[in-house]
């Protein structure tokens, strides 16, 4: 997805200005001439200036669409892949503490293998092996407390 310079520039100006305005609400540091607002204000102003430069170059190059969709937009398979990767991550983050690492990671991997076209009969074997391997590496070797969730009863 490519943004046209004018549109991107407008976005930067808005974000930059919002930061500068928000930074004005920061209280000054007592006894110092520089408060916590200075640094964000300078960066926000810098971003807004960059935005103006983008708007300028965008206006000179007329006829470019505001938003140019990525070339994979015409390939349904790719759209599905994109959505699956993002949705799968959200699924993991929402479910892992309740369902536990083993079940969540297994489903997480199986969905991705399926989306990326791994042969179906291999998926259960692969997903199981990777889940167990990852659990061994992080839980056993690196002592990361991966959640057990529903499998709390068999925790080791």
């Amino acid at each position: 997805m490519r943004l046209n310079d004018t549109f991107a520039g407008g976005l930067f100006v808005v974000i930059g200005a919002a930061i500068v305005i928000h930074a004005q609400t920061f209280p000054p540091s007592p006894g110092q001439n520089i408060g916590p607002d200075l640094f964000p204000s300078v960066i926000g102003a810098g971003l807004a200036l960059c935005g103006l430069s983008f708007i300028w170059s965008g206006l000179r190059a007329q006829g470019v669409a505001w938003i140019q969709p990525p070339d994979w937009i015409h390939r349904p398979r790719m759209i599905v892949n994109f959505v699956v990767v993002i949705a799968d991550l959200i699924f993991y983050a929402l479910v892992v503490e309740r369902a536990g690492f083993f079940l969540t990671a297994f489903v997480f991997l199986a969905i991705l293998f399926l989306a990326f076209g791994v042969r179906r009969r291999w998926i259960p074997v692969l997903a199981t092996a990777v889940t167990l391997g990852m659990h061994f590496a992080f839980y056993t070797m690196l002592h990361v407390p991966l959640p057990w969730g529903w499998l709390e009863g068999i925790a080791w």
């Binding site: 520089i34 991550l89 990326f116």
Partner: protein, 501 residues
């Protein structure tokens, strides 16, 4: 001297040697697979280094990246797909050599000259870093402020493409660095009432998102080109390499020197070194017409350049805490976690650890010869590992690795957001490195500015009052003004060209 002996003791233990060998194999594997980069390897290694002592943790990253940058040449030569961005500059040239039946020669040259360039960079690192540290001991907040600003400036202006895009990317990184209450005024900024944002964003999930998740997304939306199995076997790769060394002494030296300089500049790493070096090689070559038809000269020069850049990027990272490239930006985070705060005092407080890091660098570059030979021999099989299987595993690694830093689900969200951000930034040709540098250095920039202003009682002239600070300040301002000056000179000399452009 006793520190050097201590350092040898720290490195030559079964544990550290085991870590070095394992991370070497990991680096070779990651480098050989197109779509997996050396920076990604480093980002994914951060959670793994958590439980390690400082020396093996750093050894792990130094070795893996050196190997990955070399291994990136392998698929470039065999499949015309660079394994890491650092091999992209001469990928077509290398593939042309393979098509001419010179696969052994180009792979061997990639390996031998990677080792030579790498060793050159390491020697410069070992000799200059301690000397620079002596000088840096005298630096105050004024010098550090300018040094950080100069570093950020270099990152913006040396990156390929329009500087204004680099500047936006830098602003983004600096803004993210302001989140939380860890600022001179200890006032919570941009936290919007979120407790997780109080201490700012964790660097590791941001890095994993920007360098690993973005790569997985890119894979997900691109057609998975079937990798053609290699037909011919690969024979004696070292045959005739010595003759090449003798024939191309100057290009090797030029590539190594240029790579070392580019690597030491903040924000520019092995990939940019390789591009510049390949261009220079063509310009200075006696036979520039052969470039593009399968000529080894440019590969030798830029192959040496990218590996030498890798080592020299550690010079500013260790001495000033200013990363030379994206990889050392990650390494600096790890150094802090391990209590080895980068800066000139590290050479006084922890000399044995620093010497140990140096020894590991030599070791990694020497190990590259036998292990690289193995990797080339195994390339046929490694390249057959389907990416449809690898990418989901990497994604799970991203998730678990982000979680592992704080055992927090929030960090998985951070990783997701920054992965998407990096994906969209790259789709719009915004460089990623300035964001990372801004994020790593933002706090340091503000801290040194505020400290200096308090010392100077609000008088900005003090920033130019000390000799080194003044020089750095003028240099920084000159780099900022350079585009305007160049435009002015052009308009004076060639008014019609300036108007035309």
């Amino acid at each position: 001297m006793e520190h050097v002996i201590q350092a040898f003791g720290l490195v030559f233990t079964p544990h550290v040697i085991g870590v070095v060998l394992a991370s070497a194999l990991f680096g070779l594997f990651v480098g050989s697979i197109p779509g997996l980069t050396a920076t990604m390897a480093t980002a994914l290694l951060v959670p793994v280094t958590f439980v390690m002592d400082p020396v093996p943790a750093i050894a792990c990253m130094a070795t893996a990246t050196a190997m990955a940058i070399f291994a990136g040449d392998i698929p470039g030569a065999l499949l015309r797909m660079p394994g890491t961005p650092a091999s992209a500059a001469y990928c077509d040239e290398a593939y042309a050599m393979t098509r001419n039946g010179e696969a052994e020669k180009v792979l061997g040259a990639g390996l031998v000259f990677s080792v030579i360039g790498g060793l050159f960079g390491v020697i410069v690192l070992v000799t200059t870093a301690p000397a620079l540290a002596e000088v840096a001991l005298k630096f105050s907040s004024f010098e550090y402020f300018w040094l950080v600003l100069l570093g950020l400036t270099c990152a913006v202006f040396i990156a390929p493409g329009r500087p204004v895009k680099g500047l936006v990317s830098l602003c983004l990184g600096l803004l993210i660095a302001t989140i939380g209450f860890e600022n001179p005024a200890a006032y919570p900024r941009f936290t919007f009432g979120s407790e997780q944002l109080m201490s700012g964003l964790q660097l590791t999930p941001v890095m994993i998102g920007m360098f690993a998740l973005s790569e997985v997304i890119r894979y997900a939306v691109s057609r998975d080109l079937p990798i053609e199995p290699l037909k011919q076997g690969i024979g004696r790769i070292f045959h005739g390499q010595w003759a090449l060394v003798k024939q191309y002494k100057m290009p090797v030296l030029r590539g190594s020197v240029l790579g070392t300089i580019v690597g030491a500049l903040p924000g520019t790493g092995a990939d940019i070194a390789a591009w510049i070096s390949y261009g220079l090689s063509k310009r200075f070559s006696k036979t520039p017409e052969k470039f593009g038809t399968g000529h080894v000269e440019g590969i030798i020069e830029s192959g040496a350049a990218n590996n030498s850049a890798l080592a020299s990027a550690w010079i500013p990272a260790l001495v000033f805490g200013i990363p030379g490239d994206s990889i050392t930006a990650i390494v600096i985070g790890v150094l802090y976690l391990k209590g080895m705060n980068p800066g000139p005092t590290i050479f006084i407080e922890n000399p044995q650890n620093i010497y140990a890091v140096f020894i590991v660098f030599f070791l990694a570059n020497l190990l590259m010869l036998p292990l690289g030979w193995l990797a080339i021999k195994a390339a046929k099989n490694v390249l057959r590992v389907p990416r449809s299987v690898l990418m989901p595993i990497i994604l799970l690694f991203c998730v678990v690795g982000s979680f592992a830093i704080n055992n927090s689900i929030f960090d998985i969200g951070v990783m997701l957001v920054f992965g998407l951000l990096a994906y969209f930034m790259e789709a719009n040709d915004f460089p990623i490195a300035p964001t990372i540098l801004g994020l790593v250095l933002g706090g340091m920039l503000e801290q040194n500015f505020v400290t200096s202003m308090i010392k100077a009682d609000g008088n900005f002239g003090a920033f130019f009052a000390r000799p080194i600070a003044g020089t750095l300040g003028v240099a920084t301002l000159l780099v900022w003004l350079s585009p305007l000056v160049l435009r002015w000179i052009r308009s004076r000399r060639w008014p019609e060209v300036a108007r035309g452009s």
